[in-house]
Symmetry: C2
């Protein structure tokens, strides 16, 4: 671990390498898909626990998780997985959290930290909090990282490197438990930010949920055309369309649950998107070159900022390889 | 060149490696940006001409093109560039084509092929055809390839490898000239398809123009929010948003001209996109899980087809590198 840089911080948030890595007795991962299996791999790589177990409703995923050596034991029942665990992480679609919380409530260890990786936060608090026993520290979380792939084989330990993990604790959270969970994510390479669940849901609506919705939507629109064949859509997808198909290939159940559980923020941001799109549509219809040029010019700067912030590859075309370069 | 594969073709189109590479006396590239400079590099790599010259309205681009050795001469006037050229390629924004065609008309060599790389085709025919002298073969073209970068330095010779180039000749085109232009693109690694300009414009509206429009639009919407800061949009962009910023960083002038010159097809496809989006919006408002799940499931298959067709990287996350993998 490198020492924190001297002098005043340039950020109001705590970035990686600040705290000593924590060590847990047993980490229980509930849902061993892309994110859960990446957590398991990172916990192992950075030696953050003596033992890792998991639960998954899918027997094939449980078998894979054991065969890949990700966990010492893949339990069929969530309440069996959390026994003896001092860190429990929900990594399944958010629609499953209420029933899971109810199922494990009696088996949670006093003093354990219960967290999650769900892409919505206010609905998660509503679903989980009523079931959390006295003495268990419930701290909702969301690592903003992923790929379009699913399942235990798709995970990798570097998934959280230089990505942001948002925690949304209550004001009366135990400071030691919060510090421990922060250090856990930092040890896996993430930067940690704390905010309230409602603000998280607004921020993610525009940076993640609406982008996914419009990607799913354009792929659906293209597939349904009668004047352009599906074969043409595929052949000429390098014109831009293929960029949208990546996130439109993301896990359907996970994303269904996101939209059902972040309705208000998604509808708010979607309303703004459609309003802006209608103005662009009008500019095209009336040949308003200045409006188009003004938008197309200012959007370049945002990508530059994202690249400079280390959140995107600086290579052209996402770094895709081109034949014969 | 490898010999054509034996047996029946699996496609109704002519793919690369079919014809002998053609050789031109002089290729004149009008507009030496990303695409023009990639053509220059590919012409050189595959030895498709004795001489390459260019014209560009930007003096800095002309200097760069000569300094990079892309051309023997970068002319300030388009009519000077086309003198003695048996292949002239417009590689500037499509809004410039009418004036360019008028300017070069008197300087074109009899028997020369005049083509272009513009992203719209019907408007190009309308703008250029009236100026084309008797004896010059005007064959509009569009290689469906590119990156979000601009300028002579951004080009590379492999840009057209395994991409599709669409040609939209008139029915009375000279067959020898068409064959020569097809072979030219094939020699640079492209597959060639012939269609009519109107159909091209519909196909590209859905595979390229509307995707660019909604990418520009979401980036604009995100930048304008007052409840979410720009810094938050940048930090959490890995949740999906950053995928859209790549094509929203494309050349503003080029894209302004595309929308002004393919108005009807873009408005038609945009109308369908918005109609479908409204149905999704309604599904979210009413908690219609089945509608969401049905769309999110069928969109996965399209990406698989694009990867199988060799039009996309099979690596997760476009092959972006992840720290600590």
């Amino acid at each position: 671990m490198t020492a924190p840089a001297p002098g005043p911080s340039t950020s109001d948030t705590e970035t990686g390498q600040a705290a000593d890595p924590p060590h847990f007795r047993r980490v229980a991962i509930i849902g061993i898909g892309l994110i859960g299996s990446s957590v398991a791999r990172a916990v192992k790589r950075y030696n953050l626990a003596d033992d890792i177990v998991c639960n998954d409703i899918n027997p094939a995923y449980r078998d894979e998780a054991e065969a890949l050596g990700l966990v010492s034991r893949a339990h069929a029942a969530p309440e069996d997985a959390v026994k003896g665990a001092d860190l429990v992480i929900f990594c399944s679609p958010v629609g499953s959290y209420g029933a899971l919380a109810e199922a494990i409530a009696g088996a949670l260890e006093p003093g354990a930290i219960l967290t999650d990786v769900g892409s919505v936060k206010a609905a998660v608090v509503t679903a989980v909090e009523p079931h959390v026993p006295e003495g268990v520290h419930f701290i909702p979380g969301h690592p903003v990282a992923g790929t379009e792939q699913s399942g235990p084989e798709a995970g990798f330990p570097g998934l959280f490197q230089n990505r942001w993990c948002i925690l949304t604790p209550r004001d009366d959270v135990d400071p030691a438990a919060l510090a421990r969970l922060k250090a856990f994510w930092q040890a896996m390479g993430a930067n940690v930010e704390v905010m309230n669940p409602g603000h998280h849901d607004l921020v993610l609506a525009i940076t993640s949920h609406v982008p996914h919705l419009i990607a799913y939507n354009i792929v659906g629109t293209a597939a349904d055309l009668e004047t352009v064949t599906q074969s043409e859509v595929i052949k000429y997808s390098a014109g831009g369309f293929r960029d949208f198909t990546r996130i439109a290939a993301s896990d359907p159940t996970m994303w269904r649950d996101v939209f059902l559980n972040n309705r208000d923020a998604v509808l708010e941001m979607l309303g703004r998107f459609v309003e802006d799109l209608t103005a662009l549509q009008r500019a095209i219809r009336w040949g308003d070159a200045e409006t188009l040029m003004a938008l197309f010019t200012r959007t370049r700067a945002i990508r530059r900022s994202i690249v400079e912030a280390g959140q995107e590859s600086p290579a052209p075309d996402f770094g895709r390889t081109h034949g014969g370069e």
